[in-house]
């Protein structure tokens, strides 16, 4: 017992791998890695229970940089891999690292099914709105009209918004953070870890080489104050350091108001409820776009629901109790059998 307690006093060091981190200097992924290294030791989980899996992409190199069990799989398929791991052994704490190409394009199908099935997996979606590893082609989250290597005239396609997709796929947990705020990342990753079920966190990540400052309006020193709304459960949706702006519901739509103008007080501001199973307002929050609206950060949706593996293993337990079949020998003798005793 004493041993166990000592074992759980983990530090960042316990999770740093001996592999050289090969992301470009200045890449947003570095800060995300640091935040995860900060969060893992604090979760009270033995280090051998962590499994970090990924698909393919710059972001998906992540498992090599963590000293946990890790699996760098194939492009787009991390969700399926993670699901298999979690179902096979629900005791494991499974983290899935994916990029916007990995999870929104080639792995889009697996991604929505992960959200729908709700296994207890924590998903960190590094959304740099570009294909980094393959050097700069547009992705399903690239804003329409963006010029990239494969869209010299600008893209003609309308992008996905991951939050909208998660909620549309009936996901129970969605959060958004920026790669420039380690404190925010640590706090939200911790909440994702604690949520039982699929927790999907979109990280607005910067690819300094192929899509630099794509989130500039949201993360830039000058503009972030106007364009970030950090949501907290039970608190009014107020933003800006000055706490002078907030959101209200006007008719069926959100509206930005100024507190103190037109008789608006803090009491008029919408209070955030991520636990509301009805995703109406959460969906609107997930869809807010700068500069007309602040971009919603923090936990946007967090609804309780039984995780997939729990339901399955409860069924296993039940079947073990009620099934007359105790072994495969029993199974082989079910149904019509006959004995031949005068044979060769």
């Amino acid at each position: 017992m004493e041993n166990a307690i000592q074992e759980l006093k983990l530090t960042k060091k316990d999770f740093e791998s001996d592999q050289m981190v090969k992301w470009c200097p200045g890449c947003g992924d570095h800060a995300i890695l640091k935040s995860v290294e900060n969060v893992f030791p604090e979760l009270g989980i033995p280090k051998e229970k962590f499994v970090v899996v990924s698909g393919i992409g710059c972001s998906s190199r992540f498992p090599y940089y963590m000293n946990t069990y890790g699996f760098h799989s194939i492009h787009g398929r991390a969700a399926a891999l993670a699901t298999g791991i979690k179902l096979a052994n629900p005791e494991l704490n499974v983290w899935m690292i994916t990029g916007d190409g990995d999870s929104m394009a080639i792995g889009g199908n697996h991604f929505i099914h992960l959200a729908r099935r709700n296994p207890d997996i924590n998903v960190l979606l590094f959304n740099n709105k570009i294909y980094g590893l393959t050097k700069g082609q547009y992705s399903p989250t690239t804003p329409q009209g963006s010029k990239t290597k494969t869209s010299p005239q600008g893209t003609f396609e309308s992008p996905f918004n991951p939050g909208e997709l998660v909620i549309g796929a009936r996901g129970k947990f969605f959060a958004r953070v920026v790669d420039t705020n380690m404190k925010m990342m640590s706090q939200v990753f911790t909440e994702a870890a604690k949520h039982k079920g699929a927790s999907i966190v979109e990280i607005l990540a910067n690819c300094v080489i192929f899509n630099n400052k794509i989130h500039g309006l949201i993360t830039g020193r000058e503009t972030k104050n106007d364009n970030q709304l950090f949501l907290e459960a039970g608190k009014p949706m107020i933003f800006r350091q000055e706490r002078d702006k907030g959101l209200v519901l006007r008719g069926t739509q959100l509206e930005v108001v100024t507190i103190g103008e037109n008789g608006i007080t803090e009491d008029d501001i919408l209070v955030h409820d991520p636990t509301n199973p009805d995703p109406g307002i959460q969906m609107m929050l997930a869809n807010m776009k700068a500069p007309d609206f602040p971009v919603a950060l923090g936990v946007i949706r967090s609804v309780k629901s039984q995780p997939l593996e729990e339901a399955i293993w409860a069924s296993v337990k039940h079947e073990k109790e009620v099934s007359p079949l105790k072994s495969v020998d029993d199974l082989l003798h079910t149904g019509n059998t006959w004995e031949i005793d005068n044979g060769k």
Binding site: E48, H72, G84, L332, E339
Partner: protein, 615 residues
């Protein structure tokens, strides 16, 4: 029961085909006859012939559902070439099955259904019962529908429900023809319809009426018996290939001490494996129905990493989707069993028909140098042993295995002598102990060359694996040219090493003949039957039939060297023969191929073998 006729003829074997509209309950009829056959002590094999559509238009040829049973007092290896008896419940089923019966076959028809409307639907221009087109056959004309209604009249059930049991009338007639008793089938009604005594009563009455009718009208010139087969002592049952596969996997998991994980996506003709495993959570077996075949295999690879017995089941198009992930399992050197139930291809091809045309795909269908074990089940009951063996080889050698079965094996059934699970070979996966000081992700067993299974959750073994090339030993990502060459060689050698752990090839038939016939997988039964018949006729001929394809059994070349002529027979365009040409180019191979979505017939094989015997 009514006294039997005197004219009882004893047969060695017989083939019966039950055919009717999809809604006529022919599968149940066939299964009940099989059950009675088992009880009579015969050996048997069956094959269902379903329409491709679920609810094909009633009364049409495409809506015909059939069930064939071949039973005998000798060992039965196939469901039979052509039927000696055809039960045809409507014109369409007669039309669809004329080419599957012998020239002298007895045909039992429900005359009530041979009305203008149905004849037109079936595409008959004149009534075959009238126009002499069935001459040569013994045609037993029975107004089955009318007599069925008559039989249940006093039970006051509506016509529609009454008609539902007309298949039992036909079964009663067949029972009479083969001197069977009705008790076992009556008992079946009692259990099956326990909640509905009226239905029990109706079915019993109809079955008995059919039996009595055949007797009363002296429907058959003779009745027949087939003596019990002299099967090995033991407890027997009937299994389809898919059921046997699922059970073999469960047995493998039980004996390995690990939990079964099956990640699959439904596809004909493999879905029953997924369905069967889904029913066995009591063994801690998890069946995960994924969103597609890619997720099926990848979730399974995840489960493999996590320490489960990892299986994914599919058919040809699904195997195509799994290709990239198979490469991942090869480089990650994790266990993975892929059951591929072959069907007619390419593309959607002939989903309900059988073929052996996925061999190239299994052997070569991946990017890079990606060797894995390929094996093939040889009969419906062998699916049990092959699935078990696939689990054993995959776990012990830490490599993916593709087990090929096919639609014929999957849906066909045969008599299966139930083994004791404890009597099967041990399965010892190479699991790393916690805190092993020598642990390295890509350290290898010096003999088998497998790496070891370090299962997440185990203390002191944290490590990373993945699809990028690994450094020998440490398992770190490596782009070093010589390391890649070394790892490629190691992965290949590891699979080749498996040859030391599989049985040698056994010659069936004559060792000192000139002609060796060669096959693999699902053709074993039919080839063996052809071989046995020719040998009974005094011909000298040998057979080598393969279950292990990659690697080949070690003595393959030694076996081939004994013969002057080698004839390789396959249900494809020659995939195995070309593989043999590549692996063992020192021999000359002849080939015999059929690609009609149909199995070989004994007759065809005998003709072909005879050609080579005399040339």
């Amino acid at each position: 029961m009514t006294a039997k006729l005197d004219r009882v003829v004893e047969l060695d074997q017989a083939v019966i085909r039950f055919a009717g509209d999809s809604g006529d309950g022919m599968q149940l009829t066939g299964n009940l006859f099989s059950d009675s056959t088992a009880f009579a002590g015969n050996d048997f094999a069956t094959f269902p012939d379903y329409p491709a559509e679920i609810r094909a238009p009633q009364g049409t040829v495409s809506g015909v559902s059939g069930f064939q049973i071949h039973f005998g007092k000798t060992d039965i290896h196939t469901s039979g070439d052509l039927a000696d008896v055809l039960v045809a419940m409507n014109p369409a089923s007669l039309k669809a099955n004329m080419r599957w019966i012998t020239n002298e076959a007895v045909i039992i028809v429900d005359t009530d259904s041979f009305i203008e409307k149905n004849l037109v639907k079936a595409g008959y221009e004149s009534n075959p019962l009238m126009d002499n087109s069935l001459s040569g056959h013994v045609v037993v004309q029975a107004p089955i529908t009318t007599l069925t209604r008559e039989a249940v009249k006093e039970l006051h059930i509506d016509n529609k429900s009454a008609q539902k049991s007309k298949n039992m009338f036909a079964l009663g007639m067949i029972f009479y023809m083969f001197n069977r008793t009705l008790d076992r089938t009556n008992k079946f009604f009692e259990t099956k319809f326990a909640k509905n005594p009226l239905v029990v009563e109706a079915n019993k009455k109809v079955l008995t009426s059919g039996f009595n009718f055949a007797h009363t009208i002296e429907a058959f010139a003779n009745t027949f018996t087939i003596k019990p087969a002299s099967l090995e002592k033991g407890v027997y049952r009937n299994v389809t290939g898919n059921l046997a596969t699922a059970w073999g996997l469960l047995a493998g998991a039980e004996r390995s001490g690990r939990k079964l994980f099956l990640g699959s996506y439904p596809i004909t003709p493999a879905s029953e494996i997924l369905q069967e495993i889904s029913r066995h959570k009591q063994f801690s077996a998890i069946a995960f129905q994924a969103e597609d075949e890619i997720a099926g295999v990848v979730s399974t690879i995840g489960a493999s990493f996590a320490g489960a017995v990892p299986v994914t089941s599919t058919s040809g198009p699904g195997l195509s989707l799994k290709s990239e992930a198979l490469g991942l399992a090869v480089i990650a050197e994790l266990p993975l069993v892929v059951v591929n139930v072959q069907r007619g291809g390419p593309s959607t091809g002939l989903p309900t028909k059988s073929e052996q045309s996925d061999l190239y795909q299994a052997l070569f269908g991946r990017n890079g140098e990606a060797p894995l074990i390929v094996m093939a089940a040889q009969s419906s009951s062998d699916c049990f042993y092959s699935a078990y063996e696939a689990v054993k080889l995959s776990l012990e050698h830490m490599t993916p295995v593709i087990l090929l079965t096919d639609g014929s094996l999957a849906n066909g059934s045969e008599v299966f002598r139930i083994p004791k699970v404890a009597s099967l070979a041990d399965i010892n996966p190479p699991i790393v102990e916690a805190n092993d000081p020598d642990f390295q992700p890509y350290r290898r067993d010096p003999v088998k060359l497998n790496r070891f299974w370090a299962i997440p959750g185990t203390e002191g073994l944290r490590h990373r694996i993945g699809g990028l090339e690994k450094e020998d030993g440490s398992g770190n990502v490596s782009h070093d040219p010589l390391n890649h060459e070394k790892m490629s060689a190691l992965r290949e050698a590891k699979v080749e090493k498996v040859a030391d752990y599989i049985p040698e090839l056994e010659i069936e038939g004559d060792e000192d003949a000139d002609l060796l016939v060669v096959g693999w997988g699902g053709t074993h039964g039919v080839m063996l039957t052809a071989l046995e018949q020719l040998r009974e006729e005094g011909k000298s001929i040998g057979m080598a039939h393969f279950k292990y394809i990659n690697p080949l059994p070690k003595n393959t070349a030694a076996v081939f060297a004994k013969y002057k002529k080698i004839l390789v027979c396959e249900i494809n365009k020659g995939q195995f023969v070309n593989y043999l040409r590549m692996r063992l180019p020192e021999f000359k191979y002849e080939q015999y191929n059929k690609i009609q979505g149909l199995p070989f017939m004994v007759k065809e094989l005998k003709e072909k073998f005879s050609e080579y015997l005399s040339s």
